[in-house]
Amino acid sequence: MAAPAPYTKLPGRGLRRAILAVTATRCRLWLAADHLLAVDYTIASEEYRRFYFRDIEAFIVRRTAQRQVWNWILLALLLLTAGPFFVAWRSEGSGGFLITTLIFAAFWSICLLVNTLRGPTCQTHIRTAVQLEQLPSLSRLPVARRVLRLLQPLIIEAQGAATSEELAAAPWMAATTPVGPASAVRSEPKPPRADRGYLHGALFGLLIAEAALTAVAYFFGDEPISIFSLLAMLGGCVICVTALIRQGETDLSAAVRGLAKVALGYYALKSVIGFVYMMIFAVRNPGTPMVTGLEMVDEPGFSEVALGSAGLGAAIGLIGLIVLLGHFRRPPASPAA
């Protein structure tokens, strides 16, 4: 058996921006037996800062308004692209323009959703006797709290609990009393959150529904059904991202989680292929309105690609539902403490 790695990756990643620097360095935190390692990555090197548990005096987490600022920016971008989309939709404008604005609007929507679901932003600092350093990887409040919960018993174990004299001088120190030995905290991971997998079920169901709608739309040339197929895809994208964000620390099987990732890859691939075909169509047929995508059916290979991707989506959805059925049949896990 291989020896255990001396460092364990901690959640969270962030950017450290230097004043007047063109590039920012990526930052991550790693956990060792007796210290915390902050790693700054550049293109071809990495720099280390070590904070030994016995030296850490305090963590300072300050909530910032960065999430709200980004949400306003993303909302403005969404409105800027969604507005022209609806104008073009109502006036049956250029199909290429219609789909381009729709793709951009979907992209901004997903960014907005991800930014909101990741939780409030914060700045985290670590203080020792001789330094105060920012930890850019702990830039989201839920992540910062999770990491602090993990580190607290390790630091207390390294420093020893506060003595009665210290408690008399600083009564608030009682709140740092460790819940148990640090080794126990390390060896007993947090119990997974019970998740029945309804979100994943909806995702796999939408994949099958989208495939069926696409097949019907192409075989019968039905435009309204084609629009429903497009809406199913957009809904599936949103649910897929939400499911991927929420599936961490749940009792869902690795297969279900993996299939959610495969579904995201499928949506990304389908969007890219659709965009390429749309561009080809717009170049070959300038001025031809395009609303549902069925207009591109005469493009060489388009029907085959569309139906093939629908089949692939249906297969992912079907496998997902079968795997999820096994999860449903399991007794629900006891709720996390």
Partner: protein, 192 residues
């Protein structure tokens, strides 16, 4: 035993101890920034004064290699020289002398002192990928990337766990580019 007060990271004003170790975010009294402060016992314990080493009292008593007038307290675990309390450097439960510490740091044997490493796998990947975007620079970039990947395949990488997939991708990209250029040149020469 009074703790050094923690300052607000926004306005630099000292945060009152009543905010320490609170279960949730509390507003800074000076600027109102919502802050959570987790303070540990180390904040209460001022660093003890450094030991300067005890002087040799009895003649013939073991003395420090570097300070013959000081009493030896333990041997260096690397070179075996006797050390006084002043020369004893504790590192990962090991006691070593400053000379071994300096030598170890210079030779890169002490991972605890490394504060930077070059990531040749990322370098190879960058040299294989970015010139490809501008097409012509890849004529030079691909062989360089291939050289870096093969030359530094076994070189020490990051001190944190890291796979070799970047090397593999860099080699594949570089070979593909070299193959593409070779095919293009063959086609040009055959056409002539």
């Amino acid at each position: 035993m009074t703790p050094r007060l923690v300052a607000c990271t926004k306005c630099r004003a000292s945060l009152p101890p009543v905010l320490y170790n609170a279960p949730d975010l509390r507003a800074c009294p000076a600027c109102g920034a919502r802050t959570q402060v987790e303070v540990f016992p180390a904040a209460l314990r001022s660093a003890g004064s450094a030991s300067i080493g005890e002087a040799v009292i009895v003649e013939g008593e073991a003395s420090c290699f570097y300070h013959p007038a000081k009493k030896a307290v333990l041997p260096c675990e690397s070179c075996g020289r006797f050390l006084c309390a002043l020369c004893d450097v504790e590192l990962n439960d090991q006691h070593i002398c400053p000379a071994c510490l300096a030598a170890g740091k210079k030779k890169g044997k002490l991972q605890q002192f490394e504060n930077r490493r070059t990531l040749y796998d990322s370098l190879a990947l960058a040299v294989a990928f970015f010139p490809m975007l501008l097409v012509w620079p890849s004529l030079l970039g691909a062989p360089i990337a291939l050289y870096i990947a093969l030359r530094y395949w076994k070189a020490p990488s990051s001190i944190v766990p890291r796979g070799k997939w970047r090397f593999v991708v860099a080699i594949i990209l570089a070979l593909a580019q070299i193959g593409g250029w070779t095919a293009m040149f063959i086609a040009i020469f055959h056409r002539d």
